[in-house]
Amino acid sequence: MSHAKYNVINTHVHNIDGVAKVTGRATYTFDVTLPGMLYGKILRSPHPHAKIKNIDATAALALPGVKIVVTGKDTLGIKQGIWRRYEELCDEQVLPLEKVRYIGEPVAAVAAVTEEIAEAALDLIEVDYEVLPAVYEPLEAIKKEAPTIHEGVERNVNVTRHIEWGDVDEAFDEADYIREDWFKCSGQAHMCMETRAAMSNFTPDGKLTCWASTQSAYYTQGLLAGVLGLREGDVRVLAPYVGGGFGGKFELDAAMFCSAVMSMKLFKPVKVVFTREEDFIASKRRTPMFYYVRTGIKKDGTFCARESRMFSNGGAYTGMGATALYLSGFFHSFPYKWRGYRYDGYRVYTNTLPSTSMRGFGAPQAMFCSEQQIDWICADLGLDPFEVRRKNGHTEGYEVPGQAFIASCGLKQCIDEIEKWVKAKGELPANRGIGISSCGFMSGGIFNWFDSPYSFSSAVVTINVDGTVELHVGCQDIGQGSNTTMAIIAAETLGVKMEDIRVHSGDTAHCPADLGAWGSRQTLMAGNAVKMACEDAKKQLLEFAYAEMGINIVYDLDIKDRWVHIVARPERGLPYVDLVKKALRAKDGQRIMGRGYYTPHRKGMISPAYSYMMQAVDAEVDPETGKITIHEVMTAHDCGQPINQLGLIGQLEGAASMALGYAYLEDMPMEDGKLMNPNLVDYKVIKAPQMPEAGIIEIDTYEPEGPYGAKEAGEGLTNPTAAALGNAIYNAMGIQMKELPITPERILKALREKKEQEAQK
């Protein structure tokens, strides 16, 4: 379908910060230098669980060049967390007072005149630990006899989540066939190109400025203020460029906290940059999950009921884990209609690196289990996996009982397109198969555990005398291109060109508050705020145009491509720049300024809108070595109206790369709580030359709640891939892969077991 009605939206627009980035001019937190700055380093626990009995920094402080050593005792000792509304989930002292709960946990921080001296000082700090018994796996930690990780938390259960609708037991009774499976999903590192970094500068006027690598300048501002005992307004957070987030950078991290604490004590700028190893061992990770899935289905393929239990490895602290626990359970039902659905999730503390949100937010794990089991059920009953998905899939106007309303849904078209693509491939050679998987995802969460009194997104737009536009947004560009997307929406709405827009973001002092970049929220939520702000400004301009042009008020005026005109007679009009100048004079010199905001209301429990997709993975297995070769990935994708065409392609390819990594390469193996591969030699990520072809078929839908009909793109696509690869391997080799990542050894083991079973028959 043609989108010719738009001048800028869904056209070939390059990232507005692309040139700055590829020419090395973009200033990341790492690049910020200030006069008199100091370099901070963090001492980390070598023990998975230990009491801190004493910390002696005498020798470190005696080292020339060392300016300060801080421990938990030098802080307010506030237990913080991003779930600010819930005190019991604020469980993390960034510099703990009593004990450490995972290997790599910060214990002390040093600031010195050089990075080398700061690092040397770490070796001189003497920490007296009393090592405690530790536990690493959720199914062990939940046992009665397991060591207590947080005082007063019974059986180490950090948080639970129950989701239920319909009469589940009755719906199971109606099923002709019930299948049960256990799955084990691994963790994954966010692996941002930019490691955690912060530069704090506390000045004698009592104000703190912090450059931070964050997904939400506003969250960082609020969290820092909270732990430092400052007013939010006295903390300015700057994040002009961020080298990736993927869900791992919207909590308070030790770089932010330690640099700020030391800067406040010294009145000097202090920069802390994590090494790659620190980023691996002491940021957070995708949540490892154990899933039990029981599904009941009728002979004709109608879904009746699903009941699932999930135990997740929470690691040492809550982080964003409570949200991941909910969303995993919710999207585990997606994108299907269940008469009865029940999910019980248990997030269990262990003495490992905490787990948290990561691109897909618990859904990739849930879909790995769900979408494979559906294919196995189809095989068990001789049903067609495409047909079964079509039969039970969400449709426009469907309500997930008590949870969500589906206003737009292109799932059926996605399934049709992928079915065509798969069938066109024809017969495949031996040991090669195509697997499919469908899913959906949210367009921003309706969650306010942070307890923000601000609207979820806001934007301010001002128009200069020459027609150029200053767009101030709180949404955070972390490399995903939100600044470009917002500029596109602004240019389209105002009727100007891309080069007329300058986007200001990542600065709490100059940009309106916004929850930031997480949960696929910005295009819909910040996009709506930008659209509203621009409509506000445009309305003011057009008021002058009416007066200036002296036209009949029944005519509509619009601006397109810098031309202010009568909609019905586009040749009649005046240049936009002339109008701006006149409007300025008429307003006694006040600039035209528009304001916009967005907060979802009456949109259910989860999200105002949902994207849908189906993906196919074409893969081959070497039956002798177990090695997987991915030939191609193809995705049919409904994100409503695409806004940023090139950004969308980049996001979808990036998601495929990250999700394939999760499916068969990336793993975080630990021994006694110690991560075994905290480096890029041993932690395997797909690099650009190794990326298989990943095509996209865009499905056209219109989401009434989104700006210009847009909804989520980019995050949801990490959800289907592991299951699609699993299904490809099932179709190629007849083996069922229930554990991630799908490694050659696991494949060979499954092939051996299959052979043994066949021999027994």
């Binding site: 990075e115 080398e116 690092e119 002798e624 070595t625 177990g626 090695k627 997987i628 068969y664 390469l665 793993d667 193996p669 075994m676 591969n677 030699v681 041993d682 395997k684 797909i686 690099k687 030359p689 190794q690 490694t743 050659p744 050894e745 060979l748």
Partner: protein, 290 residues
């Protein structure tokens, strides 16, 4: 963080050898693709770094029909990969280089640096041994040439001592009816090999096996020859059963160490599979060769 060091940049080979002899706590850098990683991790902290990458006398690719191929130690992987004569005469070397890490690494890293680093997971070692290569190294008082097969001593240890520089790799002209193949097992193309196998086969005029070499990568402390399997093939009319038998011997006669990337059992298994496959590939090449 990399410790401070003094950087030595000799203008000639003679100067390089003199400088090396002069400085005790000195490491040689020739591309740095392996050394800089261990320096960054603080595992190697030399006081002096002797950079020989820019010593022109060490950077060359020469071929003569009678003598064979001579590659200067400071020749980059990329130069080998892009050499027409090597592509023509030793295609297995080009194929090996194409899968050696990234283009950036191949642009910087050198063949001498790779061999001298003596990482058993290195790609060139097994292939060059299968090609019957020898290495020349020397110090301020003289030069030595040894078969590459005898050059490696242990993990990251070679016959070279302090003051010795790797100078040249010599690969003899292949005999008639010769074939050679190499493959590493990894999950991502161009990634480091979890294990690897190189095999070469020379056939007699009557089609029987005149000589065979099987060299395993990352299957022990050094590139590992599987002589028992080589002997099995010699003089025989080669077929799939023999290749499978050789593979079985290879999987038994190796010493791989388990880590997070694969268990010992899986490594042995894959070494057997690769040996079988590479022998067959080398054999088929040899059959076709002049």
């Amino acid at each position: 963080m990399i410790n401070d060091f003094h950087y030595l940049k000799p203008a000639s080979l003679k100067e390089a050898l003199a400088m090396y002899a002069e400085h005790d706590d000195c490491k040689v850098i020739c591309g740095g693709q392996s050394l800089l990683i261990v320096m960054r991790q603080g595992m190697v902290t030399p006081e002096y770094l002797l950079d020989i990458k820019h010593v022109k006398e060490l950077s060359y690719i020469k071929f003569e029909e009678k003598d064979g191929l001579r590659i200067g130690a400071a020749t980059t992987h990329r130069e080998i990969e892009k050499s027409d004569i090597i592509e023509k005469k030793y295609p297995v070397l080009v194929a090996m280089e194409e899968k050696l890490a990234s283009i950036q690494t191949r642009n910087w890293g050198t063949i001498g640096g790779n061999i001298a680093h003596a990482d058993p997971a290195g790609d060139p070692g097994p292939v060059l041994i299968a090609l019957n290569a020898e290495i020349k190294f020397g110090n301020s008082s003289g030069e030595t040439t040894v078969p590459l097969d005898e050059f490696f001593v242990d993990y990251f240890e070679t016959k070279m001592e302090h003051g010795d520089l790797a100078l040249e790799i010599h690969v003899p002209t292949p005999e008639p009816k010769f074939g050679c193949a190499y493959q590493k097992f990894n999950l991502l193309d161009s990634d480091m090999g979890i294990v690897a196998a190189a095999a070469s086969v020379t056939l007699n005029a009557d089609g029987t096996c005149k000589a065979a070499r099987i060299v395993l990568g990352n299957a022990g402390p050094i590139p590992l020859r599987v002589t028992k399997a080589e002997d099995l093939l010699k003089g025989k009319k080669l077929d799939d059963a023999l290749f499978a038998e050789a593979g079985k011997i290879a999987s038994e006669d190796c010493e791989p160490v388990a880590d997070i990337h694969a268990s010992e059992e899986h490594r042995r298994h894959v070494l057997g599979v690769l040996t079988k496959r590479m022998l067959k590939k080398a054999f088929e090449q040899a059959q076709k060769a002049a």
